[in-house]
């Protein structure tokens, strides 16, 4: 089929750019906010953005994340900014447990609400579908039904008590993807996983990307757009913004740095002195951070060594 050429809009109509700085984006997270954190395990964590939030330090946060979460969630928990967390699974996958999440669960410093994939997704889907609660088929027989407010049995639709998580609508959603244009059209080169769901359920959506592309580039492959601009409020250009996690299709996760994080995390004190201070509070995001972790070229080369 012959394609008609695209025609650009008249210069008279100037579309508003959604590009903001990392610190402007981080400022959208205010004390007491309900924050959705994107990514899964080591993939597509909004790492630079979360570090910037930690530098700013808004407290009393409630967070929700994709069922398998990792670095960004553990960092937020370790920073002491989190009061309540709806997180089904937080680990460093095959590298080990998430040290701050584990410690928070053992000491009770954070309200870790017991939940699983179905209860988290159900709560987010309830928002999308305008339901007060979204029943999930069954987590029958488990202790979740005993301990989790998300899974509290409820009589919905006359079928007797069934776990029915209430609708969750985060105030701010923090995501990392590979590419976007300045109007918020976002493209994932890997797996978007729960990020679109988190975005649709949230009031405000911020996306960091490794690379800003032109609107024409987005329009050249409309099927590849994962989040259309109407879902996105702010875009930040943040090269290597997922590090030490992977930005799928651009760079892999940095096992050396992740292991250093885990090692630092052996106590709350060592995590603060060996990770939080040198890698977050004591360094600016961007070139300084990149230099501190060995530079861009090293990250680009990880593909060869990370198994």
């Amino acid at each position: 089929m012959t394609r008609s050429p695209s025609r650009p809009p008249d210069a008279a109509a100037r579309r508003t750019s959604k590009l903001v700085s990392l610190s402007e984006a981080a400022a959208l997270v205010t004390p007491g906010s309900f924050v959705a954190v994107g990514g899964l395990w080591f993939q597509n964590n909004p790492s630079a953005l979360v570090r910037e939030v930690v530098r700013r330090g808004p407290g009393e946060l409630t967070i929700v994340a994709a069922p398998p979460s990792s670095y960004a969630v553990d960092l937020l928990i370790g920073s002491g900014l989190v009061r309540t967390a709806y997180v089904a699974h937080v680990s460093f996958d095959h590298l080990g447990l998430a040290p701050n999440h584990r410690r928070a669960g053992e000491t009770g410093t954070v309200d870790l609400v017991d939940c699983d994939e179905a209860t988290v997704l159900g709560g987010l889907m309830a928002t999308l579908e305008a339901l007060p609660h979204h029943p999930v088929t069954s987590i029958a027989g488990t202790d979740l039904t005993r301990t989790s407010p998300l899974a509290a049995p409820r009589d919905v639709d006359g079928r007797g008590p069934v776990p029915a998580p209430p609708a969750m609508r985060p105030d701010v959603c923090l995501l990392h993807a590979q590419e976007a244009d300045e109007y918020g059209n976002v493209r994932n080169l890997g797996t978007p996983f729960c990020d679109p769901l988190l975005a649709k359920a949230s009031r405000t959506v911020v996306v960091t990307v490794d690379r800003i592309v032109t609107n024409d580039e987005i329009r050249s492959a409309p099927h590849r757009t994962v989040l259309p601009g109407y879902l996105v409020d702010a875009v930040v250009e943040a090269p290597y913004g997922a590090h030490p996690c992977a930005s799928q299709g651009h760079y892999v996760h940095d096992e050396e740095q992740l292991r250093a994080y885990l090692h630092a995390g052996r106590t709350a004190e060592t995590w603060r002195s060996e990770y939080l201070e040198p890698r977050v509070l004591g360094v600016a995001e961007g070139p300084d951070y990149l230099a501190a972790v060995g530079g861009a070229q090293r990250i680009d080369g990880l593909e060869e060594s990370v198994r």
Partner: protein, 271 residues
Amino acid sequence: MTSVETQTGTAEAGPGSGISYSPDELMTVVMAREIRNDDLAVTGASSLVPVAACLLAQQLHAPDMTLILPSGVVNPRPGRLYRSASDGRWVTGAEAVGTGYDLFEMSENGRLSVMFYGGVQLDRHGNVNLHGTGYRDGRPSFRGPGLANTSFAVVSGRIILFSAHHTRRTFVDRVEFLTAAGHLDGGDSRARAGITTDGPVCCITPLVTFGLDDGAMTVRSIHPGVDPETVIDRTGFALPTAPPWPVTAGPTPDELDVLRRVVDPTGELAR
């Protein structure tokens, strides 16, 4: 450029100008002026005019507005108009391609700010009937296409009504079947039904623009060159105000220029 419905084909385009335009071009320009920069709009069936109006508004005063076609295509820019809003050729050069589930989310989750409705019948309170007419024992003697998205009328921030046909058959006192909620019985009956959105704010026809400020259609303006008696004759309910009515500002040369040069270079609206 001619029409059995209006005489606007030879009307003035602006002070001192003598540009002619078709009824569809006039309706498109008038509708475009209703679009706001922060709008997220979805169009339906037989929507050449609403689609063109959104694309024109994006070019003129609403570059940030989002247009979503009924097939889920987001912000198309095909370089011309296609007569079917679901035509696959709208995909090329668009910003994204959504699914039915995305449309469901967009409406139920409260994002949709403008919806356009035409109808087999539109009544004076802006209610829409796409179901049928001439009911006997619940069965219509004329069956319409049915309404694809009734609930969008409830969840959409506001509604823009339009009809290519300004006749007594279309503009009735009361729809025989209420498929999409306008202002129901008028007054505050929409709010009393628990609906929190604005409902129909105007209705654009080849003859006039109706306002619905008090939940009932009133002539906001009559299009250039149209005889008020024609409007009265062809409207199936009593108009609340008598002529003279304000005259619709016709398309400006700039509006027509952008419409014809950028939005509709193949002249689909001029036919």
